[in-house]
Subunit: 119 residues, 2 copies
DNA sequence: TAACCTGTTCACTTTTTGGTAACCATGGAT
DNA sequence: ATCCATGGTTACCAAAAAGTGAACAGGTTA
């Protein structure tokens, strides 16, 4: 195991992209749904404030992990989807997920119980 | 690619463990040094407040990713090292690091330039 | 005795993040 | 005219995270 690659600078960049209360959930939806309309997303993630959801989406767009597409209809329709860069996060996210279920099962259960994130 | 495993609950647990301004750096040191004394760590991470470093270490200990060993000497010596659970984070961290260098090279460079994290 | 080192904690302050609720422009439906 | 839905912004507020500086107990050293 060659862990010399932990030039944690890159690690920090990656964590920066992921850090934000709702970003994991957003990614979850976007990984599953290919294309999600804003209001739809907003309704599927109960408890987020519109403003906050917008903020996180904007950050993620700036980070290049998602793509925002505005369609010229009325009422306006705005769709979000993952970019290639975003999809490339897949393995890393899976690895984290893996670690959690293998080494932190209790915490996962506790979190579920506390409903820190609802689905 | 089976991304059905993104039961983002686990993902959130993992990110929780990693989120904290100094945790990546701490991990970096602990992955490389086997055993680090508190003051030593504090001096190697310039700019952290002692209090904050202590906080992050305590959280990481509670999360079970590091181990705190207090030796009965005077003046007191406290050593930190990674636990097995912490070591198990290795692949996930490497994956994140990988993603950053492959898909976010510019951001990494920018961060280095901004000295958001110093080594 | 006084100054010192260590890991910790305390009392605050600042910064960052997240949340609430109102508002806007637009056009379609009632 | 009125109301609704959409995506977005604004002004304001609350909570969390990080930072500052001092203090502590304890024995060591000078």
């Amino acid at each position: 195991m060659d862990y010399d690659r932990f030039k944690y600078c890159g690690l920090n960049v990656a964590l920066d992209v992921l850090s934000g209360k709702w970003k994991p959930v957003i990614l979850f939806h976007l990984f599953h749904e290919e294309e999600v309309r804003f209001t739809e997303l907003w309704r599927n993630i109960p408890k987020v404030a519109k403003k906050v959801l917008l903020e996180q989406l904007k950050q993620m767009e700036e980070d290049g992990v998602i793509i925002r597409e505005e369609r010229n209809t009325f009422p306006p329709e705005v769709y979000y989807r993952i970019s290639e860069k975003g999809k490339a996060l897949g393995p890393a996210l899976a690895a984290l997920q893996n670690w959690a279920t293998e080494h932190a099962a209790e915490e996962v259960a506790a979190m579920r119980a506390a409903k820190k994130v609802a689905l």
